[in-house]
């Protein structure tokens, strides 16, 4: 299935892309999408312990399932305000 990956702030700088389209196996979780992405961009791996993620603009845990057409976002630690 095909998903959109959204990357922000330093994650975007490290990959050079704010948005990527990727094929992932049916039944993949957010964590599996992340694992696939760190395979492609090893520099991202350091963010694993401090990562947040969202599916379709709603916070989701790494074990959340992903469906075809979903937008999966990965968020480094936040600094708004």
């Amino acid at each position: 299935m095909r998903i959109t990956v959204r990357l922000f702030a330093r994650l975007r700088d490290l990959t050079g892309a704010a948005e990527l389209t990727r094929d992932v196996p049916a039944g993949a979780t957010v964590g599996q999408v992340w694992a696939q992405l760190t395979g492609e961009f090893p520099a991202l791996a350091a963010y694993g312990p401090s990562l947040s993620s969202a599916v379709n603009a709603d916070y989701a845990r790494m074990d959340a399932p992903v469906a075809d057409g979903d937008e999966v976002a990965f968020l480094p630690p936040v600094s708004g305000g």
């Binding site: 922000f8 603009a57 936040v78």
Partner: protein, 164 residues
């Protein structure tokens, strides 16, 4: 002039419009308010010993709006008498400009102060917003809290800081 109570975008923040909207919605409700507290976060010219030139804010806007809604709901849960408005800006911000404005209104001051402080603490904990600091000699993404809206410890810390 009416603006949304919760918003994020590149336009400069109009605190007066924000306060006016809060005063109007719902109609007549503000007549029972005796306390209005406003927090403005502004861009400082120094941070961690660095001379800041400007900041660049980036956000995952639809999720940021949902985070603001969550924060407003949490505040309403803890302080039912409080009404809250919150605007966050994104894009390039110069020194002295406001990145965030939070306005709370309530019959009594303790609740308005508490909810306003709580809201800014929660924004810093869970709003998907990032600032890149451009300083003399370079730039750096500031990374603060690991965003987890379900983290009860973080929420407790926000209540503690709100003196609630």
């Amino acid at each position: 002039m009416s603006v949304p109570l919760l918003a994020i975008g590149p336009a400069p923040i109009d605190v007066a419009a924000l306060a006016a909207t809060l005063a109007e919605e719902p109609a007549g409700r503000s007549l029972s308010d005796g306390a209005i507290v406003t927090f403005l976060g502004t861009v400082r010219n120094h941070n961690l010993g660095r001379a800041v030139q400007y900041l660049e804010y980036e956000a995952y806007e639809p999720l940021a709006l949902r985070a603001f809604e969550r924060i407003a709901a949490e505040a309403a849960d803890r302080w039912p008498s409080v009404r809250l408005a919150l605007h966050h800006r994104v894009g390039r911000l110069e020194i002295g400009e406001a990145s965030i404005a939070i306005v709370t209104a309530s019959p009594h001051r303790a609740e308005a102060f508490g909810a306003c402080r709580y809201a800014i603490e929660r924004v810093k904990q869970i709003a998907p917003i990032w600032k890149k600091e451009h300083f003399d000699g370079g730039d750096v993404w500031i990374e603060g809290a690991v965003a987890d809206p379900d983290d009860a410890t973080a929420r407790e810390e926000a209540y503690r800081r709100a003196c609630a």
